[in-house]
Symmetry: C2
């Protein structure tokens, strides 16, 4: 498109942003208007995208990191012929797929959900990584950012990652409209301030007037021709550009225009320009599952193996069997044992250094391109990426997260390194699966099973060795559990997972010597939980005791209660969990001090049974 | 100290780091040895600190951001005469206050818990902010960082914040030993790479040989004399410096030295140098509570007010009454209503822009200096700072966090903006308090009450208006609840909080018309929870129905169950919560679609009561 055509297209995007927001009675027209020229030039002259085939492997990928500018995105879809004007006007209404912030759950052209600022670029880096290192079909990734969101540290994790990996297929476009939500940004229109930062991180930078379509056109061309490093286009723009009443004014963030009809008139009225976006070149899907024979590692009963080791070995084997498996780690691969995968499959391993947000974001980006990522760090440090995990669920992204060094059982390192809140965090994620194995064979089976699930999958592993209690051919369906001890005289059920399974078994032995028969349930699937087994145990034994190496809130104790929330009477219940702030101590001392070791279970179990008799 | 004395002191710190780790059988001697010279020079020649009076308001503040180098810190305490050699050798043992990673819970010279990398500098910025803008007694803040942790985005949020606030009382010292946990860092010994980044963010930088004590001495002097901007000292060091067997070698992170006695000999043997650290100048505490009359805002019953508005007004009033209250916000003060405080008390308001990790870190730093911070953003975006909240609990920091825009009730903006996992996150934080008011007067009372609590306090506020149902003089003790409807014929108890209180009251009216009397409990204190009221309700009515604008995991439903976990039989229970992924819709449509509006409560309540009869 030539200059005048681009200007017209940009005005149409503004008009449609104003109209959509006016119809909704909410939304962010002013944040859309600042970026209209940037978007028009990209759409008309640079993006290669087949809207009829969003899964085309050669398609460029566009991420609207400033997700609140969704009216602009939807206006662009209309201009590209992907949606009609009638649908545009359903914006933000019940049942419309055109949500307030874009999500890919219903809109096939959206790569990832945005709306939590500072996430689009990190995830875009993940997509660009897939393009550069795995898919290799030449697509480019374009990420439109706001200036306000550059205050998020995650953006600089992404900047570091992208430059380090020489992602010249990635272009960040920053709509520097100088106004955040409640007022001016730190740097206003000082494009140099941003340029210095990106240059320091290894990016090529281009500063441009974001309302000069020819300059923007040249900037995109420069980005496309820059080799060896990612490019950021820093565009000076005005919020609300084109409508005098709102242009460059404070206090108008996130509000429909006061006089939309006048605004549309001032913008030159409605247009119905439809453009044909450049199609991508033919491309072959390279990342199809190259399913080979799955030869999982096997351990003999009685061996002493840490579940984190089993994770590493199983993942390496899974990677051998399936060509679509990729692994990421946050510079602790020697601890999580992700290094086992790295050694076997270096081409599919992504070292993310100590940047957990970026690690999870990269996983989301890789998953968006069809890869099956496993991202690992200490369970404690996955809390760093909580918002990215939350947004992954909004996207419906299929990612596997692995948190090692669960609980007080890690020992001397103390509470900063202990995953004690991770089960609560992961259970509350919409549609998540939460798995917590207690032995090596179980871990291996679950690692393999995770690959086939939907949504966010979480595996919790332990630092220390534990005995192998299951044979290598035992099966562990997700949503199931294992009854490890049972008799028809059981008076108590102990529900445990991970390290406490072994403590529970020892406690059951001790109680048995006191004449109290105990059922022991290994609740390796914390979510979904095995309701029928738990209900039967409650009916048979009357009392439940849960024991977990986790805070008392949100973990296994709460998961067990899910089995009794259909209005039925809930059994007598006691939970043992980590109630104090631990210090440093040996693993055994930690379990004892926290009151979750065999002796504590036995004492609490005995009390519960005796109280039941009294009543 | 002169050169040779500094060299000797540094060697002692190395020797003691080796000895402490050897005695513990774990720990990080090599990461301590790289920073020994940096620490010796600081301790002997630049730090102003009275170890006998850690609360001295004029004391400099030292933060060990690379918390795993705790042996070095404790060795420094010994050199300063604060601890004896015998205690040094209790490192990492059960009951010792010298934990694997330092925490201030028992050690008075530790400013903040570290061990989750990338947190020391952000919190140091908070302390420096207190020094620069509030305390104004001239203390300096020194933060010793590792090079690996510079990959964390939180470090760059801190860098941005510190430079923007011209914190020339802050010095970051980066121990660039080029080796992370599992191998080399991204930039190795390229000090320029780090210098470029810090310079771009507005810092003064000094590059130095970290083992040249004179050069280090000059660098600290330069930092102290630099005005108008923070300084970072980038020090080239060798991990394991001084012991040939481990020096600059991979694979030795976090491991005691293989031959500690030989290492000590190679380092010149044990020494017992005790130094007198420079004392701070006399300083007056300026941040004492200037308690004035507390004149909280008042609303009449029936007024329509959003609880977020009540938060803003109450906080402004609290700030007028108490001089130690400070407020922070993540560039959404017009939404959280923190702007009300900003207008009244601009000198105690800290705009953190869109950097939630830095906002919480700054709050932790301000709290460490005795201020009472309230930090607010959307509840959804507090997930961004989860790891900082977790570590605040390890520190025992007293901070108030406020999450606005709770739940699906926000309406059109969709799931990215909805706080739906925040209660689960905050309940699982050790020692936390979780409050969720439903009306303006209740909000105001709770905002004031929070200031006097220990640990992490969380308040959840709502976007939309809701009717005032309590009088302005009603009291709301933390740990309590309010029974809003009760009779001796109640057959069901509905437990609600926040927006669902109003839905529950409407549902109770509807059920009353059907001849079903319902008790309604307003559970404004989600943690601690009012066990006695819930137990009485269960005994009186037999059935409990919880309803919450939050995911079903970890929220109000789970909190209610805490009342029944002492082994007693649990009542019949049904919970209503947000089980689907919402899209865009009006607030009322959202509540209905999620199944947590009055109609849904009435339908579920009726079913529960009827089933109870059948059984």
């Amino acid at each position: 498109m030539n200059t005048s055509e681009l200007v017209e297209l940009a005005q149409q995007l503004r008009v449609d942003s104003v109209r959509a927001s006016a119809a909704a009675g909410s939304g962010h027209p002013t944040s859309s208007m600042s970026a209209a020229d940037l978007t028009a030039v990209l759409l008309a002259n640079h993006l290669r995208y087949d809207f009829d085939r969003p899964a085309h492997p050669g398609n460029d990928r566009f991420v609207l990191s400033k997700g609140h500018a969704s009216p602009l995105l939807y206006a662009a879809y209309k201009a590209a012929g992907a949606i009609e004007d009638g649908e545009l006007l359903t914006f933000r209404k019940l049942g419309s797929r055109l949500e307030g912030h874009p999500t890919p759950r219903q809109v096939p052209w959206v790569e990832t959900a945005t709306g939590s600022l500072g996430q689009g670029l990190p995830i875009g880096v993940g997509i660009a990584l897939a393009g550069k290192r795995l898919d290799r079909v030449g697509y480019r990734v374009w990420v439109l950012c706001g200036d306000s969101e550059l205050a998020e540290g995650s953006v600089w994790e992404a900047a570091e990652h992208a430059a380090y990996e020489h992602l010249d297929n990635l272009t960040a476009i920053v709509d520097v409209n100088r106004l955040g939500q409640r007022g001016p940004t730190r740097h206003g229109h000082d494009l140099d301030a941003y340029a210095r930062r990106f240059q320091a991180f290894g990016w090529h930078t281009v500063e441009v007037d974001g309302h000069d379509v020819d300059a923007v056109d040249r900037a995109y061309a420069e980005a496309r021709s820059t080799a060896g490093q990612p490019t950021v286009i820093l565009a000076r723009t005005l919020k609300g550009k084109g409508v005098e009443a709102v242009q460059d004014r404070e206090g108008l963030h996130g509000k429909p225009l006061p006089e939309p009809d006048e605004a549309v008139a001032e913008l030159g009225g409605e247009r119905d320009i439809r453009i044909h976006v450049h199609e991508p070149p033919a491309a072959r899907v390279l990342h199809a599952v190259r399913a080979g024979h799955l030869d999982l590692p096997r351990w003999e009963k009685g061996e002493e193996v840490a579940t984190r080791n089993a994770y590493g070995e199983a993942l390496a084997a899974l990677g051998t069997g399936r060509g679509d498996i990729v692994a990421l780690d946050g510079e602790v691969g020697d601890s999580t044992r992700a290094e086992f995968f790295a050694k076997e499959h270096p081409e599919r391993y992504f070292e993310c250094y100590i940047a957990e947000q970026q690690m999870v974001a990269a996983a989301v980006g890789l998953a968006a391109r069809g890869w099956v990522p496993y991202a690992a760090t200490f369970a404690a440090f996955l809390t760093r990426a909580h918002d990215f995990v939350r947004m992954a669920a909004v996207s419906g992204a299929g990612i596997n997260l692995v948190g090692s060094h669960a609980g007080v059982a890690i020992g001397q390192d103390g509470p900063s390194q202990m995953g004690l809140e991770d089960l609560a965090m992961m259970r509350a994620v919409h549609g998540s699966t939460v798995l917590y194995p207690c032995d090596a064979n179980q871990t291996a089976q679950l690692v393999a099973a995770m690959a086939g699930l939907e949504g966010v999958r979480y595996l919790r592993t332990s630092r220390g060795d534990s005995p192998v209690i299951y044979g290598p051919d035992e099966e562990f369906p997700v949503g199931g559990s294992k009854v490890l001890r049972a008799s028809d005289r059981d008076r108590l059920t102990v529900v445990a997972a991970g390290v406490t399974v072994h403590e529970a078994l020892a406690a059951a032995d001790a109680l048995d010597r006191d004449g109290i028969q105990v059922r022991v349930v290994d609740l390796y699937s914390v979510k979904p939980v095995d309701r029928s087994t738990l209900r039967r145990a409650a009916e048979d034994t009357g009392c439940l005791l849960t024991v977990e190496d986790h805070r008392e809130e949100g973990g296994i104790g709460d998961a067990v209660l899910d089995a009794f929330l259909d209005g039925r009477p809930v059994p007598r219940l006691v939970r043992l969990a980590v109630r104090r702030m631990p210090g440093s101590a040996s693993p055994d001392q930690q379990l004892h001090t926290a009151g979750i070791d065999a002796a504590s279970i036995a004492a609490a179990g005995k009390l519960l049974v005796e109280e039941a008799v009294v009543r």
